[in-house]
Amino acid sequence: MITTNPSITPAPVSHHPSPETLLAYAAGALSEGVALAIACHASICRDCRRELGRLDAVGGEIMTDVSPAAIGSDALDRVLARLDEPAPAAPVAPPLDRETRSLVPRPLQRYLGGSLRALPWHHVGRMFEEVRLPLSGTRVKATLMRIKPGQIMPRHSHGGLEYTLVLAGGYQDNGVAFGRGDFSELDSNDEHQPVADPDGECLCLVVLDAPVRLSGFVGRLINPFLRV
C-alpha cells in the first residue's frame, strides 16, 4: 500500500498548470472536473495558490470597478428578510482514514464515497484500477487511477485535453519525472506513454474533457468513454 505521508515531508512541486488554465479557473470558465484538478493542485502547491490569490484579487478589482447598476428599491429589504432563514446544509463528507486524508486534497475528499481502500476500484486489464468521480454533466470525465509499480501504460493521445495530478508515487513520461503534486496538461497533439515508477503504486487524479484516442490495440480497453 502507499506509505508515504506527504503532509509531513512535502516534496517540491515541479510541474504546474499553465497560466491560461489558472486564469480560466479564476475567471470561472472551467468545467467542474478541470476546476477540481486545479483546486487540488493549488491545495498542494503554494506557488499556484498564491497565483490564484492574485488572480482572484484581479477579479475582485474588475468586479468592483464596473459601473454599478441601480438595485431595486426593495432588494435590501428582501435580503434582510431572508437573513434568518436556515442556511442550506453543507454536504457531509464521509469519515476518511488517515491515509486518505494525508494523500487526497480536501476539494477531492468531497467527491469520494469513502476511504481509498474502501472505494469500488474497477480493474482495467492488469494495468491499473480506477474509480470514476461523480461530476454533474457527462462531457468531462474525472477518475482516480491507481497504477501498479513499473506499469507501462498504453501509448495514447487525446481528442481533447488530459489533466493529470499526481497524488502519490510517480511516473516518467517522455523522460520527464512526475511526483506528488505535479500537474500535467496535455492537448490533442501530445501522444504519450507514461511509465509508473517501480518503487510503489502511483495514485493520480485524471480529468479528460473529450475521448482519448487510442494508438494501440490495448487502446480500446483503456478508453474510458467507450467503457462507460
Binding site: 470558465a29 483546486a39 495558490r49 484579487a57 474588475i62 432588494a75 435580503v79 454533474s136
Partner: protein, 220 residues
C-alpha cells in the same frame, strides 16, 4: 474677492475624506464612492461577531450594485444579475465567520462568491475551491505562511499593478473575467494566434507576480 476664494472647500484632505466616508455610511441606497478594504473589513467583522444588520446593509449598499453591474457586464440580463447580487450577499452574511482578513481582501472574497453564483445559476455545477489542511500547512515551515497574501491584494496595489500592464495584456485579462472565456475563445474573437494569447497571459501574470510580492509583511 476673498469671499469667493473661501467659498471653495479648502479643508485638509483627510477631513474631507472622513466626511465623505461618514456620508457614504449613512446612505444605504447609494453605491457611493469606494470604501477602503479597511472599512469593508470592519463591516465584515461586525457581521461575523455580532450579526450586525446595520453593517450588512452598508456592505450591501456597496457591493450589490457592483455585483449587479458586473453581471450585466458579463451579459446577464438585469433581473438575473440582481438575483445573483442578492444571493451572493446572502452568502456573504452566512459565511461571514469564514472570512479571514489576513488571507484575502473583502472584494477578493466576495468576487469568489459571485463567481460561484454565476456558475451555479448558468451552468448548474459545483466549482471546487482550494482548501488546505491547516495542520499540514504549519508542518511546512520552510516557506512563509499565506498571511501576507492580503497585503498583496489591497485594492490600490492590485489596481496599480493592473494599470501598469500593457494594454494588449490587460485586454485579455479583462476579457477572461468579463466574458468568462477560455483563452481559445479569446484568441478566436480577437483573431490572434493561440500562442500569442497564451504568451500575453503568461507575461501579464509574471508582471502581476513581481508587482505584488506577497512577503511585504510577515506575521510569523
Amino acid at each position: 474677492m476673498f469671499a469667493t476664494v473661501l467659498s471653495v472647500p479648502v479643508w485638509p484632505l483627510p477631513l474631507y475624506r472622513r466626511q465623505q466616508r461618514a456620508a457614504g455610511r449613512n446612505k444605504h441606497g447609494v453605491a457611493g464612492r469606494a470604501l477602503t478594504n479597511e472599512d469593508l473589513c470592519e463591516l465584515m467583522e461586525a457581521i461575523a461577531a455580532r450579526k450586525d444588520r446595520q453593517a450588512f446593509s452598508q456592505l450591501f449598499a456597496f457591493f450589490a450594485p457592483r455585483v449587479k453591474g458586473f453581471g450585466i457586464r458579463r451579459g446577464v440580463d438585469p433581473a438575473a444579475a440582481e438575483e445573483i447580487a442578492q444571493e451572493a450577499l446572502l452568502t456573504v452574511w452566512r459565511k461571514a465567520e469564514t472570512f479571514d482578513p489576513e488571507k484575502a481582501s473583502v472584494s477578493t472574497w466576495v468576487f469568489t462568491i459571485v463567481r460561484n453564483k454565476h456558475i451555479d445559476m448558468f451552468r448548474r455545477h459545483a466549482y471546487p475551491e482550494v482548501d488546505i489542511d491547516e495542520l499540514a500547512e504549519t508542518a511546512d515551515d520552510a516557506q512563509p505562511a499565506d498571511h501576507a497574501l492580503a497585503s498583496a491584494q489591497e485594492g490600490s496595489a492590485v489596481r496599480e499593478a493592473m494599470r501598469c500592464l500593457p494594454a494588449e495584456q490587460l485586454l485579455i485579462i479583462q476579457k477572461a473575467f468579463y466574458e468568462d472565456k477560455s483563452h481559445r475563445a479569446i484568441a478566436d474573437e480577437l483573431a490572434l494566434p493561440l500562442g500569442t494569447v497564451k504568451s500575453r497571459i503568461r507575461l501579464a501574470l509574471a508582471r502581476m507576480r513581481s508587482a505584488l510580492p506577497e512577503a511585504v509583511h510577515d506575521h510569523d
